[in-house]
Amino acid sequence: MKERKWISKTDGIVLCALVLCAAGCLLWRAFAQPGAVATVTVDGETVLQIDLQTAADAQSYTLENGVRLVAEDHAVRFAESDCPDGICMETGAISKAGETAACVPNRTVVYITGGTANDVDMIVY
């Protein structure tokens, strides 16, 4: 049996394919338009939509699960969450269409879309 190489030609092909794929996606996203609406979902249900075009001053939203979001400068970020790793807060502010910030332990996702806000301004339980 031939011994396995450190790195082979096939490895190179796989590597290039993956890097090209990922770089393409990232590049495409880098030129994305600034988004208009931030949609917040908890457990897959939309609980809040924030119009980012009007969100110039810092505005704070506290969700039922204790997560606090702050919208300012046409961007939105996780400001407070009781999750153990705090990945959602590390993500920082997002503002471009297609960008996402998620807090998996709290089942909360914020994503930005380009369109205008629906007639639903805020759903309160």
Partner: protein, 173 residues
């Protein structure tokens, strides 16, 4: 069977190494240009060696051990994500080490790292009930390629020494 006992002991040792490596990684500062939550996944070294030399049971055992450690230290959500990523990537490693002859260590490391990320992301999407988290995928792919290549290289580098241990105690997969 003495060899069997040795094999179990070695699996435990590798599992402990994996846990220690995960802990060391958690001490690393997070850089701004990296996707949030991304870690080099050096503990996959233990899985990779187990998948290559020891066989399926030890490899999956280590994946379970790592998930248990993640659940204890970083909460249940992290545990489930670690478990699904770990099982998926370990299964792919086992398959590649057995069936494939063209890939090198770097290739297997990269593919399994990417599978680990993919598994985790799919679970995350299922848990939050929203596919938009898949937007992390490109950044995680890119990071997985780098981390996986590193894991593959280190695995190849330390493999001869670990093989000496398995040969000394007549451990077979």
């Amino acid at each position: 069977m003495k060899a069997k006992t040795y094999r179990i002991a070695l699996t435990g040792l590798l599992g402990a190494c994996a846990v220690a490596l995960s802990y060391l990684e958690s001490l690393l500062p997070t850089a701004a240009f990296l996707p949030p939550g991304a870690k080099p996944g050096l503990s996959n070294l233990a899985n990779m060696f187990a998948a290559e030399v020891l066989g399926p049971l030890p490899a999956f055992g280590i994946a379970f051990l790592k998930a248990g450690f993640a659940a204890l230290t970083r909460g249940g959500t992290a545990g489930i994500m670690s478990l699904c990523g770990g099982i998926f990537s370990t299964a792919v490693m086992l398959l590649l080490f057995r069936k494939d002859r063209k890939l090198g260590y770097v290739g297997i490391g990269v593919i399994s790292a990417v599978c680990h990320n993919l598994g985790q992301l799919c679970v995350a999407a299922a848990m939050v009930g929203n596919l938009s988290v898949l937007a992390y995928l490109p950044a995680l792919l890119l990071f997985g390629v780098v981390a996986g290549a590193l894991t593959g290289l280190i695995c190849r580098a330390v493999s001869p020494m670990l093989r000496k241990v398995t040969a000394r105690f007549q451990i077979k997969s």
